[in-house]
Symmetry: C2
Subunit: 339 residues, 2 copies
């Protein structure tokens, strides 16, 4: 298929790594795992079973990590970052469960989607259960500002999902309209997760806002890279088969760019495969050829780097420290991630 995704690099030219961030949050992450397991318990067997399937399915838990790492950056010594970070992960997991039902997805992170094992019904209801648990955990912290941030994120995420559904399969979606969707459905939770660090540590508003900007732009970059990898990645490394978005007729930035930059004939191709859903043998290869011809994947990566740079600059505003540098390197890692 021959599409080369340029890797992100650290400022010193070395390969970006998530390791400094992982090391920073490792002790807290243990506690998050315990909190996740204890709050996904229920005497209704299906709940821990289904939740466990998703929770143990190898996600990086990047979102809760943001809450933990930003708390650490401020030297926060309290306990509230643990339930809040867990609530963030539960909100994310609930969204995945509902997304799989809405998208009729068969796979999630290289594992069979929960809906295929337990059914759509259980996926909807266990998603609701996890949202309820998330909400309870936040409330128990008693931090109203954290509640404001997370309830706001929940409403924005859901609105973004509906927006995406309404624009579904429309290949003439503009780049701006697409950005609006991912700003809501992906970036809002990254932003909230990062902001919470400043909230628990009671930092001034300008620091809180810097974290909002960091999280939001990192989230956008992360989603765009995800979109690019769906066409350019290696299936086995990603836990996601190349071409999943294509097969589901999901409009992402590589398609938006290909359609806008393409010829009349190419546009007819996109309309057939994405809007009408008429896909034949060889269509994915042709899609990749068209994308290559118009630099749609490298274009998507360029956009991702743009947002990544904004995230780095938002973080650069803080005084140099180990945690700050780990958070900055995480941006490069997200852009470079192929493993």
């Amino acid at each position: 298929m021959g599409v080369v995704v340029p890797l992100g690099e650290k400022n010193d030219g070395g390969r970006a790594s998530l390791q400094p961030l992982l090391d920073l949050v490792a002790p807290d992450m243990e506690r998050i795992n315990e909190t996740i397991l204890s709050h996904a318990q229920s005497h209704v067997d299906m709940i821990p079973q289904l939740a466990g399937h998703l929770i143990n399915s190898g996600g990086k838990r990047l979102r809760p990590m943001l809450t933990l790492a930003t708390s650490r950056m401020f030297g926060y010594e309290g306990e509230h970052h643990i339930p809040l970070a867990t609530a963030v992960e539960f909100m994310h997991t609930a969204t995945l469960l509902h997304d799989d039902v809405v998208d009729e997805s068969d796979w999630r992170r290289g594992k069979k989607a929960a809906r295929l094992i337990w059914g759509n019904q259980a996926s909807v209801l266990v998603g609701d259960y996890l949202l309820g648990q998330a909400f309870k955990m936040m409330v128990e912290t008693g931090i109203l500002e954290a509640l404001r941030i997370l309830s706001n994120a929940a409403a924005i995420i859901a609105e973004g999902e509906v927006l995406q559904l309404a624009a579904q399969n429309d290949v003439s979606t503009t780049e701006d309209a697409y950005m609006e969707v991912i700003d809501a459905k992906t970036a809002a939770l990254f932003s909230a997760a990062a902001e919470l660090g400043a909230v628990v540590a009671k930092r001034p508003r300008e620091e809180q806002e810097a974290l909002v900007s960091y999280g939001r732009n990192l989230g956008i970059a992360f989603q765009l890279v995800d979109d690019a990898l769906d066409y350019a990645g290696e299936s086995d490394k990603l836990g996601k088969a190349t071409g999943d978005d294509f097969r589901e007729g999901k409009i992402t930035l590589p398609v938006v760019l290909s359609y806008r930059r393409g010829s009349g004939e190419e546009r007819a191709f996109w309309k057939r495969v994405m809007e009408k859903g008429e896909q034949r043998e060889g269509d994915l290869e042709q899609a990749l050829e068209i994308m290559n011809r118009h630099d749609a994947i490298t274009g998507t990566m360029e956009r991702a780097r743009h947002y990544g740079a904004i995230a780095r600059d938002a973080m650069a505003w803080f005084p140099q420290s180990g945690p700050r540098d780990a958070l900055m390197e995480a941006v490069d890692f997200c852009i470079a991630r192929v493993s």
Copy 2:
């Protein structure tokens, strides 16, 4: 079909009415309607369309009424009961949307189910949106105790829904197991709605607990009457076709009682129509005959009156007042409702 449901009566022997409660909350209810409309707004058209379909579909809004009426009973003069009662209604509406998807229902209150018009996907996502809005509204009041109550209710409701799904179609469900389901999926929100009145008015714990008991038992009675009416009601008055639960293979108390009280042959009938879902012409009539033979519907109504009596006694603990009496009469109305 010849099943007679005994009507509830007021203590003075007259017909119970919801009118005193409706009159009590009428001015606040106007504000609830405005709050509902303004919070179901979005530039994503599908959200106000779908939410409007459900919100305007003629529900009695009994749950928010409980918050309003209990607040009034304490002479509460503030503003917080409005967003809290609206949040209760949004939580309820979100549950209905998700329920219809899970149950594959075609009708809701005599109108086409939203999922048939906008699709299952939109129903899942707009449900999430309404939950997010509910959460935002509660957080804006800044009353942590109210947040604790409603987040707890959200988790319990979702757990009850999963429990119901797991027990689905099992005709040998015990009465206790069935009661556990409705205690969670229906009574928890009634209970929370009533309790909020004591919370906004900052009443002592014992009064709060009396309202928990009132709401919970009213909710159970309400659900049991609903179950009975599905077999004994008149379709056009209910906005729900007689036999809906039967056709969907939903196990409710009339079925639980009929199965437990029935002969081997009758049990085989229930297994065929409810568990295997093999329904033929005349099966609903036969189901009603079996129910009649074993007093399963009158038995369900007896249980409902038991819980109704507990609700009345919980309320009787408060000094006599117009609002208190309206709340007590509402119990009788719920048991008597055929209109």
